[in-house]
Symmetry: C2
Subunit: 464 residues, 2 copies
């Protein structure tokens, strides 16, 4: 048997002794459920491109966002830090709104700034939601270019157009919302044509990759979908078994295929690390317009597993073992630290960075340095995962089955998430020793937590 | 680029004009949950062999057993017929017990009898549960050989040994139960050493395949696991993150790997159709000793999706497209009909056979001929799926979240399972037309249903 697998690769780094800096692509979805991909068990959503990404890369089954809602979660990805540390959260307003005057603080070292410092070309495509005033926008925070919407696609509701209230979501039309589409600092379309937005984001990302083949580059592709109102382009209308949600999801899957195909075709695949993740769990109150958390309990807005555990994939051919599954703990904040380390960029040392370097997990030769997950709602620490154990000190539901107000628990409700990922069988009475250890960990954590004033509570016009 | 993928295959059928009859292997688990495999989304159970089986074959995401409990479900697989048609169900006793005198009726044409008629060597390995009296055992129903336990592994409880009641399940030992292990018609070990039972079943199946390489053969490998009490051999003790359930499941996964490796190594892979499925959903009342139905509602004993939708794989290299996912409707009764058709065996025409031929689905060139699923509890029709629609006429829970008694619904509760696989959003009020169509289908179905007297209600000593 004789086989040449592929053409030799004639691309070399300038300095042959140094491995080339990998390109980094982060594909970030909105309100995607843990159970919404084929490779995470959904029965009626087809995701052949994501399934292939998993088959060629790594599926991470215990990977968390840093918040169960949008703005804080994205701030954590962009800074590697818990939102409470930079004020990108609030106990009053969960996220930034069009009438907010705050945004990502200037002294934060963003993902893009850190990579730009070591020579990366940087593009932000998609939903930002870290402040819509000029100083907060991507191109003033480390990105060379920006194309996308500045906040959620359901903001700027036009209540004098179309059906009012929730009814607008069931038959969404572009003109019911007045969301702006921006390029860099300018509004180029309003309302944004959301029907074609996934397609246009994809085209932008692909174009950027093709025009930066000499690398290194960083592309942050943050889809507006699967946040309601749901849209998909004409080619995906009524094509999935799962209805509108499935159509939109299958277009995201198509988009992932376009990005990976571009990397394959340009010969950049082996030197590009691609992450796929989401900002928080599915928005269950929207019935079939919300996603599925699979076997996990609850969804968006809660610190149950369904609110913060994300369906995560990492792809980097020749580096990440094909078809691998990691059950190690990870966080979107680790995407920041891991990518910076691999790029040879500086991870800030003058402040607490919560992200850890997951490279040993990715290349399959070591455990995760992450031993704990802290589940916050605004500034409030609600729950802590320590190894397989999770203690809920306070719970707050968003869906019918859980109460919609905060409820304190003393002793905390304890689950063993490896044995009981659905958080069904409380075992706090059997394990007081574990609760003691978690309480110690909380004290240690809180001794290093200096919360910054909330950016989300600053009204428009009062920006400092 | 030049590539020889494999050595040429010098095996030919005796008559070159006829395709060789495929060997058939059915691997059937007990009480396995829809969400318990890695490829169906479980976060902490490792199933690399089943994942590979899916990657090389087909994952079927809308595939059903014919009953939410053991005996009726297995009877349907073995006969291609709904249990009510042959009396292998009851409204009083859900399954056969050691004090039962009934079993599979002699006039049924079993899976093994049909294949034996066209020259197959036939082996039954594992749990039978279609009657433990001699006339009901596998070797009197079409199987050349039998090695296994005649009923569930939690029957024959010895209440004078070890902890009583449910406590015995939390730290199970072989000696707490008096389950017999049989070879053909003889008891060869009592109590059966359940610690090594998955391993020994596997060895038997592999040995049978190796000694019947000239084919054709049919192996029915019906694991005792994941039914409580859970056991695993020493090599799998404390090796999974998921605890005892995960250990036992990962041994099943190992077993699947052994069977498929044997087929690969003997060169039989391309001519062997392997099915992987389970008899019903997870037994949720056993907490972490029960499995997970993933995103599906409820589990074993109920006609919610979690009770009857099974994680199903089909593997037949060179015939079933690798890595394919089918969302078409299927049933364990279709395993019977499809396998018989492919083997050139006669599907009975003198009685109603509920199984349909899924060959077009398997080879990827057509839709499923199955348009409906009938959900029975004993002789009672509880629910009907027609295309994507499911109507519950009666519900009955088994777990905490559903009432444990029968509850009638008029109008029936209606769900769109493609849009809402978790049965969360009832829509009967919006679709009276669909309910009318389903009611017509029920009348049609019932006009062709002639229930046979129950075999499960015959006491020992009263066998006809």
């Amino acid at each position: 048997m004789f086989c040449i697998f592929a053409e030799p690769n004639f691309t070399f780094a300038a300095n042959a002794a140094e491995p080339p800096k990998p390109n980094v692509v982060v594909i970030f979805c909105d309100d995607l459920g843990y159970g919404d991909l084929g490779c995470f068990g959904h029965p009626t959503i087809r995701t052949p491109n994501l399934d292939r990404m998993a088959a060629e890369g790594m599926k991470l089954t215990q990977f968390y966002s840093a918040s169960p809602v949008c703005t804080p979660s994205r701030a954590a990805l962009m800074t590697g830090r818990l939102p409470a540390r930079n004020g990108m959260c609030s106990n009053k307003r969960r996220v930034l709104f069009p009438n907010s005057g705050g945004g990502i603080p200037a002294n934060e070292v963003t993902f893009a700034e850190a990579l730009k410092d070591v020579g990366y070309a940087t593009a932000c495509v998609g939903k930002w939601h870290l402040g819509h005033l000029p100083q907060f926008l991507p191109t003033n925070n480390g990105f060379d270019t920006y194309f996308g919407i500045p906040y959620s696609n359901d903001m700027d509701r036009l209540n004098d157009v179309g059906p009012r209230g929730r009814a607008a979501f069931w038959d969404p039309k572009v003109e019911y919302w007045n969301v702006p589409l921006m390029r860099d600092l300018e509004i180029i379309e309003r309302p944004a044509d959301q029907n074609t937005i996934t397609k246009r984001y994809t085209d932008e990302a692909v174009k950027f990759i093709k025009s930066h083949q000499d690398g290194p580059f960083f592309v942050y592709l943050a889809h507006s979908m699967m946040h309601v109102p749901l849209f998909r382009s004409r080619e995906f209308a009524d094509t999935s078994l799962r209805g509108l949600y499935g159509d939109a999801m299958e277009e995201i899957d198509w988009s992932v295929g376009q990005v990976l195909d571009t990397l394959r075709e340009t010969g950049l695949a082996d030197n590009t690390l691609v992450w796929f993740c989401s900002d928080n769990g599915p928005w269950l109150v929207f019935d079939t317009h919300g996603g599925s958390a699979g076997l996990l309990r609850e969804g968006k807005g809660t610190t149950w597993e369904g609110g913060m555990r994300e369906p995560t994939l990492a792809w980097w051919p020749e580096h990440i073992p094909a078809g691998s599954v990691s059950m190690e703990l990870g966080s979107t904040m680790d995407i920041y630290t891991t990518s910076l380390k691999l790029a040879g960029a500086d991870v800030p040392t003058d402040r607490v960075v919560d992200g850890v370097d997951l490279s040993p997990v990715l290349v399959g030769n070591g455990p995760s340095p992450r031993k704990a997950v802290f589940y916050y709602r605004g500034y409030q620490l609600m729950a802590v995962r320590m190894g397989p154990w999770k203690a809920h000190f306070v719970t707050h539901g968003s869906y019918g089955s859980e109460p919609r107000q905060a409820k304190k628990h003393d002793p905390p409700i304890l689950y063993h998430l490896d044995h009981d990922p659905s958080e069904k069988y409380p075992i706090q009475n059997e394990h007081p020793d574990v609760i003691d250890k978690i309480k110690k960990l909380v004290l240690e954590h809180q001794s290093q937590m200096q919360p910054a004033p909330s950016q989300l509570e600053i009204p428009l016009g009062k920006t400092k």
